[in-house]
Amino acid sequence: MADVVLKNVRKTFGRTHVIHGVDLDIRDGEFIVFVGPSGCGKSTLLRLIAGLEDITSGELFIGGERVNDLAPAKRGIAMVFQSYALYPHMSVYDNMAFGLELAKSSKADIDSKVREAARMLQIDNLLDRKPRQLSGGQRQRVAIGRAIVRDPKVFLFDEPLSNLDAALRVQTRIEIAKLHTDTRATMIYVTHDQVEAMTLADRIVVLNAGRVEQVGTPLELYHRPANLFVAGFLGSPQMNFIPCTVSHIGPDGVQVQLPKAGSITVPVSPEGLRMNETVTLGIRPDHMKLSPQGTLTGRIELVEELGENHLLYVNVGGERHLTIREPGDAHHEAGQEVALALAPESCHLFRESGEALPFLSGSRTPAPPSPDLSSRAA
């Protein structure tokens, strides 16, 4: 069991900067998910922790020990690879035993550890098979089993579910969560799938272009995105963004002027905002309603009926579209003229730089996060 601490960790390949100074405090036993678009550096960051890539500068501590110069095997980590990376010529048993054998464990010790892990993962009947005789899900279990027998302080997962089909993905996701509950080991998990991130993580690290955009609990990130990037990345369908201008600054928030429509007062702290400054208003599809008193008017261009709810794509003038989620029993048709009401307390305001304006205290439904989980923008 160990905590993982990154201090100003940087990585460059030649002249390309892949990781720009990441600071991160991962507590013992925590399940951390690195999430971000492809190429954001999340896998590289994981590989730096694993020791498969060199840290260009900065420091990495695992369990209080500085491990920058330690070989992967000496860091007390185990890694589950995207492609499983099973040794094709070895049986399942040998795949799991290989690391212990190299560590010169006794035969009896190896045998008991391998069999215990196999029992736990329900692959004890497959121990004599070769990887090519296994299904994708079984291979995945062997890869996890190989990690478990190392009894690592930190588990590293590099997009472990992306090669599985949808049903298996959900099932394995649940098993990984259970593995975390059972072992209480520190786990670092890389994915591009926000559902995996939201469901598995104690805390999520959102990465973009080699920088940490925000660190926080899943709900904290969802409800209080620190910037435009996080706001747009988490949540499906994506948050709607409407450019507008500041028309009034008062004690109850910032009033902004929506384009070709009325104005709305968002309960955020103005913090140096000037009049007529351009800002972006963000609102999730669930937080808008069709209402005759709505501030925005437009025409429904497309209705996607998903069953439990429907997505309406509303043209609000020009090329601008907003997405609204409506209950599945409502009936709407394309071409219909509608007015949209925005819930002010669910609106987000972002400065031109992308940074979110902090909410006025007590104005939000979900409880604010505890201070030690406070989000940190790079």
């Binding site: 694993a50 020791g51 498969l52 070989a71 992967p72 095997a73 000496k74 980590i77 185990a78 890694m79 690879f81 995207q82 492609s83 990376a85 099973l86 040794y87 094709p88 010529h89 290989f98 690391g99 190299l102 560590a103 190989r146 190392r150």
Partner: protein, 274 residues
């Protein structure tokens, strides 16, 4: 029109096929004819006369020549692969300074004209006391096979998944263990391909074998066949030569037919991807 194209195509196929195998067919035919029969032209076999085959093993030390060729080619293949696989791991999977330059140099050596090293090699083999011995030929032939073995194995090595190697490092493997326990088993198909090519190169090698051997007992098959002579200098024992040719070619042809796909894969890995 379509029929005509069809016929034309098959005629072309037949012509290519005939051109490819006729010389070998004719050699087999001639090898079964002896005495004055040989000096009349025939296109179809009439009877099987094995006297040329008897002659090639009785009047010539051809059995020894074949044995020599097998020893030399076998040793060359074994050495090339042993050296080549470790080197290919380094070249194919590790970034280090000077890698490209070294790889280029090795590729360049594989294109060396043999004659360019002939006098230097002659001196070297003499200095080691290996003139007119099989180890001398093994050493010389390594110059032909080792560079392309390294090259072809490197291209194969590059195609193995990176994650398997990384999993082994996480498991605590050293580079040597990675090569021996993980990559060596995975490289077996590639090693077979490369080994076959190296075997063919060594089996067919002529210039070194001709220059660095003196007595018929130390010769490999190619110079033995090239230097086969009859009772007089002006009369070549064509029947015997054809019998010898057939004997040494059959195993190669069998190998080509069996391992056709592997050989083609090796050739294209060495050339097209290069």
């Amino acid at each position: 029109m379509k029929m005509l194209t069809r016929i034309g195509f098959w005629l072309l196929v037949a012509a290519v096929g005939l051109f490819s195998i006729f010389p070998f067919y004719y050699a087999i035919m001639s090898s079964f004819r002896s005495g004055s029969d040989l000096f009349t032209i025939a296109y179809l076999p009439e009877r099987l006369d094995f006297s040329n085959y008897v002659a090639v093993f009785e009047r010539q030390p051809f059995g020894t020549n074949i044995f020599n060729s097998i020893v030399v080619a076998g040793a060359v293949v074994a050495l090339s692969l042993a050296l080549g696989i470790t080197a290919a791991y380094a070249f194919g999977r590790i970034r280090f300074r000077g890698r490209s330059l070294l790889l280029m140099t090795i590729l360049a050596v594989s294109m060396f004209p043999q004659v360019a090293v002939l006098s230097g090699m002659f001196e070297l083999i003499r200095a080691f006391g290996l003139y007119n011995t099989l180890p001398g030929l093994i050493l010389a032939n390594l110059m032909l096979t080792l560079p392309f073995t390294v090259w072809v194995l490197t291209t194969f090595m590059r195609e193995l998944p990176k994650e398997i190697e990384e999993a082994a490092f996480v498991d605590g493997a050293t580079p040597w263990i990675v090569v021996r326990r993980v990559f060596l088993p995975l490289m077996m198909p590639a090693a077979v391909t490369t080994g076959l090519l190296a075997f063919i190169v060594s089996w067919n090698e002529f210039l070194f074998a001709l220059t660095f051997t003196l007595t018929n007992e130390q010769r490999t098959v190619p110079p033995a066949i090239a230097l086969m002579s009859g009772s007089t200098a002006y009369e070549l024992p064509w029947g015997t030569i054809m019998a010898a040719s057939v004997v040494v070619t059959l195993p190669i042809i069998a190998m080509v037919l069996v391992f056709q796909r592997k050989i083609v894969a090796g050739l294209t890995a060495g050339a097209v991807k290069g």
